[in-house]
Symmetry: C2
Subunit: 382 residues, 2 copies
């Protein structure tokens, strides 16, 4: 069995879009896939049973957060992350790179690693590529990420410095990795600069890893820049390996990513939006707290089959929001997550039937009727 | 079918304890029963599906809260409370009496009713017995409660005044009731004074209602006083009708109430305690935030079969608490509610097998090994 782990079998290609299956020790992941984010070893306000019910396969957790609290050794002692958070399907851990650069109070980078202060209590810590891998091995996810340096995407000089260091750190991640039951993905950096992205994709692809990620996007750049960078990178990354667009995204970002050959996505947007009363519908986002929903007996989305839409009216959910009841966050999170998972299911079907272009075009036309295009810019993961 | 509604069939008596079934338009309620409290038309932090899974039958909602927000007419317009909150099993609504006297900022009682200010926005409102019934008829619960005046339990003079007014108001509730598919329960008041309780029980029993409640307890009086009042009242209330001890209680209060012939209980304690990290175990309450649970791989309660105990360690739940994750409240609420429901299931079984005395004694001995006896005093329902 071991030999089959981390094989990526592509079943169908439609333009740049692909349908495949990535094998892990905790089962196969059908791609394109959206991974709900469980930053602190829990997808906020939903239970694992509710995640299973909506068909989630891959779940993401954050090395930075779990290293700080409760600590990777405790998680290991309790049987690893799967057992700790009661998720028997695949898990991916981020390396902590992004969080060290976006969340910690102060940080100081040197060639060897980064000193940073905990956002929780200000205590001082140090991550190196080796340390990140050791922590991720203790946590025990199926997919682990290389430790990267995240620059501001529009600062060319720093983008290049950070990219080159990310390459050197990738080699150290590969060297220090011990467990054979975890797939290490490299991360392509390079900001919004096509030549840097090309250089980074070429370097990273040469490492012959089981999968590749595109980092440093969805952090404030324009949609055009994001799409251009995905195209540049995916043109170089090996077609036979899964590509993971980190921290993305919104429904339209998923469609646009799949269109450009992305296989894996993760984002806090569906659950964060839910806690702020925002819900996805085929016609765009709505704010359930709005007065227009006060006596609306229809569900969030008539076409949706999730627990929230099968059983509760917009009026009821608005009541929960006004009454500050936690069930609101739970119900809307279930719906929003299911909405993104349903996009991946429909995309897979459309790709298998060689009609993804039409599906994507129709989806985006409907989506834009009611929603302003917004930057998803939602990768910060507190 | 209509004729069978609100019949109470007693299947077995063991001392004062009884097992029975109370028929409602939304199905039978096996007693003794514990009703989770869904103050604002949601049992805090759990879904109806999770309530069904732990075997809840009767759920309580609050007239005072739902009248203020979202308003009883909106609930009626949306198909009534069952449909609004997606609970297809029986529902009981409190009359608003207790909340008017405990939650509203100012209140002024006259013979006809009570003026009060909303705890939400300070707006002025008036409840009368007729108004409470009208609101409860709009909400559409299976069991509705008479509008009562709640005095401080140890003030004799006011207890008598309030009790006598509660009696006159009960007659008006009975006269103004229109719907035949709702059972109106009268409420016995009288503070901690046996003669007043006797007088109130006798008056209330004469109204020949489908069920009777004991109000004004678990509001700060001693356990001895509470037990004495239950005994005085249940000695007078008709044996063939269900008795509901309002706002109670803790595990030990349930046992002590069942022992004295109580059939129905409700309390916010299990869910409120859960949000403050407290969990029931057979050996008493524990605080899951305590350091002793930091690396404990065992569940809250080894003997419990709930979703939380089947799947999560104390260490994980403590992590969720420290990380301020909502899943903690959900998991501990599921457990605490299931714990009380399991007490009612075990009590029914023990009564059916004529061994309730032994069951109750053993339960209380175990329970008191680790827990100080505490007043449950937890009927305020915000």
């Amino acid at each position: 069995m071991t030999r089959q782990w981390f094989e990526y079998k592509i079943e169908q290609v439609d333009g740049h879009a692909r349908v495949g299956t990535f094998q892990t020790p905790h089962g196969g992941i059908s791609t394109p896939v959206f991974a709900p984010v469980g930053t602190q070893a829990t997808v906020k306000s939903v239970t694992p049973a509710q995640l299973e019910e909506i068909g989630a396969s891959l779940v993401l957790a954050n090395t930075y957060h779990l290293y700080l609290r409760p600590g990777e050794n405790l998680v290991a002692e309790l049987g690893g992350l799967h057992r700790f958070m009661n998720w028997s399907r695949p898990i991916l851990t981020d390396s902590g790179g992004f969080q060290v650069f976006s969340l910690s109070d102060t940080r100081k980078v040197d060639e060897d690693g980064v000193n940073f202060k905990s956002h929780i209590d200000g205590s001082t810590h140090r991550f190196t590529p080796e340390k990140s891998i050791r922590v991720q091995e203790a946590l025990g996810a199926d997919i682990i990420m290389a430790f990267d340096e995240c620059a501001e995407p529009d600062q060319r000089e720093y983008s290049e410095v950070a990219m080159l260091r990310t390459h050197r750190w990738l080699e150290r991640c590969i060297s220090s990795k011990m467990r054979s039951d975890q797939a290490l993905f490299g991360i392509v950096q390079g900001g919004i600069f096509p030549d840097l992205r090309r250089q980074s994709a070429e370097f990273t692809a040469r490492q012959e890893l089981p999968g590749y990620a595109i980092g440093g996007l969805s952090v404030g750049e324009s949609k055009e820049d994001m799409h251009a960078m995905i195209e540049v990178v995916n043109d170089i990354l090996p077609k036979e390996k899964p590509r993971y667009l980190m921290g993305v995204g919104s429904p339209e970002d998923l469609i646009n990513g799949i269109w450009r050959g992305v296989d894996i996505f993760d984002c806090v947007l569906p659950t964060r939006l839910a806690r702020h009363h925002g819900a996805f519908t085929p016609f765009g986002r709505i704010n359930l707290a709005n007065n227009i929903n006060a006596s609306d007996s229809s569900p969030i989305d008539e076409s949706c089959g999730c627990y929230a839409c099968r059983n509760f009216s917009r009026a009821y959910i608005r009541h929960l929001i006004l009454a500050k009841e936690m069930l609101a966050g739970t119900l809307v999170s279930i719906h929003n997550l299911n909405f993104l998972l349903e996009i991946t299911r429909q995309s897979r079907q459309a790709i298998l039937e060689s009609r993804f272009d039409r599906y994507a075009t129709e989806f985006l036309n409907r989506w834009h009727t009611h929603t302003e295009s917004e930057g998803s810019n939602s990768r910060d993961q507190l």
